[in-house]
């Protein structure tokens, strides 16, 4: 009842504050649109598994940027599913097959680039060998055979095979690419969008709810409200629901805009994405109101952004963390935005269901409950009962 009084009051206040409404609803759309325009690809190193390929080719592959592992087909498939590897190479019916994990276009590109480089290097090496052999043969017989020296489609030399059944004559290799997830039309924006949606929802809800709760403290109204028979948890919940309404609306709008207007690819259900985003918004909401207890004014609240919000975006999977120091990766694993980003990517790119990503959902829910509880305790500073 008193919670509802507070919720109603907040709704009235927010609706009256046109600029904050604009900030909640227009700003994220604008920024997302800009990002979708300017996003460019960056270079990435690939992890490639090879299944039963000949040593000379693997050696060529190892000369590229890629990290190469020789494994069995089962291991390769498992690695791909576990996202330990970005793709594996296998010889099938005489052609070289590349199977890609497929979620990140930059990584897809990196794998293909590495394979192309290796193929080229291998072809040159083979051609070189062939030429040397011919020259040796020609010198001994005395008849120089006119052949396309150095050309990859030189006559077949039985011992010089790329792999079992793949004759050198087929060089440069024709490759066929298969995607476990995503596809060739997956852009950098498609890969980043799930994280960005999560980030903007987190950022704007965090800031607005935090500043609003702070204003309640600094304006003396929090103390005034605590001099009425409202319970501390009713205050926290009132804020939670008041901003929760806007967080849900904002989330739905941002998500609709990203998927339908920016045409970001999503194979998962709209509802599942919404559930993740709303859960993330509640974490931002509870964290914002909690942290406002440690700020004396709006400026100090804004100081939390580089401390709390910005590191999360860097560590949430927007950038590739696989070469980062161990402690940084560990840190990233405990951040709420990382869990939201993982869940969002799982649903939007790999089409996972809520059941598949439930660990992340529980973690987010846990954070939300933790922050709300701490906030109720923090209010003891003003009133003990």
């Amino acid at each position: 009842m008193r919670t509802w009084a507070l919720t109603k009051r907040l709704l009235k206040q927010i609706i009256r504050d046109k600029r904050s409404v604009a900030m909640l609803f227009v700003a994220p759309l604008l920024v997302l649109w800009l990002l979708s325009v300017v996003l460019t690809t960056s270079t990435t190193q690939a992890d490639i598994d090879v299944v039963d390929l000949s040593t000379p080719f693997v050696e060529q592959l190892e000369k590229t940027d890629a990290t190469v592992r020789e494994v069995s087909l089962e291991e390769a498939k498992q690695d791909l599913a576990d996202r330990e590897a970005d793709g594996y190479l296998q010889l099938k019916d005489g052609t070289l097959h590349i199977v890609l994990e497929g979620s990140d276009p930059a990584v897809n590109g990196a794998v293909q680039k590495a394979v192309q480089e290796a193929s080229k290097g291998y072809a040159q090496e083979q051609a070189e060998k062939l030429k040397n052999r011919r020259e040796q043969a020609g010198a001994s017989s005395g008849t120089g055979m006119p052949t396309g020296v150095g050309a990859p489609n030189a006559p077949q030399v039985p011992d010089d095979r790329l792999l079992d059944g793949a004759p050198v004559s087929q060089l440069p290799l024709t490759t066929e690419v298969e995607f476990l997830h995503g596809g060739t039309d997956l852009t950098k924006m498609d890969y980043m969008a799930p994280v960005l949606i999560g980030f903007f929802i987190f950022f704007f809800v965090f800031l607005i709810s935090g500043v609003s709760f702070l204003r309640e403290r600094t304006g003396g109204t929090l103390e005034r409200v605590l001099a009425t028979p409202i319970k501390r948890f009713e205050i926290v919940l009132g804020y939670f629901f008041g901003f929760g309404v806007f967080a849900v609306l904002q989330t739905a709008l941002v998500q609709w805009f990203t998927l339908n207007i920016l045409d970001v690819q999503s194979v998962g259900a709209f509802g599942a994405v919404l559930v993740i985003n709303i859960l993330l918004a509640t974490v931002a909401l509870s964290l914002g109101t909690l942290l406002s207890a440690f700020a004396r004014n709006e400026f100090q609240m804004v100081q939390f952004i580089p401390l709390v919000v910005v590191p999360q975006i860097f560590l949430s999977g927007l950038f590739d963390l696989r070469n980062m120091p161990e402690w940084l990766r560990k840190l990233s694993e405990i951040l709420p935005l990382t869990h939201a980003a993982d869940a969002l990517r799982g649903v939007m790119i790999r089409g996972e269901s809520l059941g598949d990503i439930q660990v992340s959902l529980w973690v987010l829910l846990g954070y939300c409950v933790l922050f709300l509880t701490l906030n109720i305790l923090a209010l003891r500073r003003y009133r003990k009962v």
């Binding site: 008193r2 206040q13 103390e223 009425t228």
Partner: protein
């Protein structure tokens, strides 16, 4: 003085000590406020008046001693709804109308839905804000905000009224109206604890407590205090008690 019955003490403060860090803000303060009594707390700014009334209104903790309101040791959740508190700073929502502010606090105090509208209209009339009720508080003058704050404190017809400098920034005519209302509430049995540093208001109080540097240096009716200090005015008496020669 005659109408004060100690056994009916509504507010009882015994040996109250308050500290912020190492700084002692309230030092061994004891007094009571009876039913239907107006007790004025007089003292320069920074003397600890606001800290004292906050403690009684349950929004402040204390380091030692005991504060009882209506027989319950404070802070006590059930007692909060029987206290009307008007803070020194206007704790109002500036982005809402005066009316919306009153509705919000009426809901928090649990004023029954049926009575709410009538009660709000009555209070708006009392503080002469009826015609400004639909305006945003940010467009109110300082005096209008004080009046709205008082209306908020009176919404739930509290038995104990704690007013922290209620008449700051209010014109003399309205100040008279305020005091007429305080005296009317007193007649109905409301106990009022009021802080001020305006000396002429002090004459209206049944008893006065003089506070200086966190200590209660004198307590009694205005006449008593003047007699004890052999002073013509309360102001003079206050200075004498404070150890300053008038």
């Amino acid at each position: 003085m005659a109408n004060i019955r100690e056994q009916e003490a509504v507010v009882e403060i015994r040996h109250l000590v308050q500290q912020f860090g190492k700084r002692v803000v309230l030092d061994d303060i004891s007094f009571t406020v009876g039913r239907g009594e107006i007790l004025g707390l007089l003292g320069p700014s920074g003397s600890g008046k606001t800290t004292l009334v906050k403690t009684i209104a349950a929004v402040g903790d204390y380091a030692g001693g005991e504060v009882r309101v209506l027989g319950r040791k404070m802070p006590d959740y059930a007692t909060i709804s029987k206290i009307g508190y008007m803070a020194q700073a206007d704790a109002l929502y500036h982005d809402l109308t005066g009316y919306d502010n009153l509705v919000f606090f009426a809901e928090l105090f649990g004023v029954p839905r049926g009575k709410r509208k009538a009660r709000i209209a009555e209070l708006l009339e009392l503080v002469q804000l009826s015609e400004h009720a639909k305006r945003l508080v940010q467009n109110y003058s300082g005096g209008m905000k004080r009046r709205l704050s008082l209306a908020v404190a009176l919404l739930h017809e509290p038995q104990v009224l704690i007013l922290d400098e209620p008449t700051v920034g209010i014109d003399p005519v309205l100040r008279q109206d305020f005091w007429r209302e305080f005296l009317r509430l007193k007649e109905q049995g409301t106990s009022i604890l009021i802080t001020t540093h305006v000396m002429d208001e002090a004459e209206h109080c049944d008893r006065l407590g003089l506070i200086r540097d966190g200590k209660l240096i004198a307590l009694g009716s205005p006449e008593q205090l003047k007699q004890e200090a052999e002073a013509e005015t309360i102001e003079e008496a206050f200075l004498r008690f404070g150890g300053v020669r008038g």
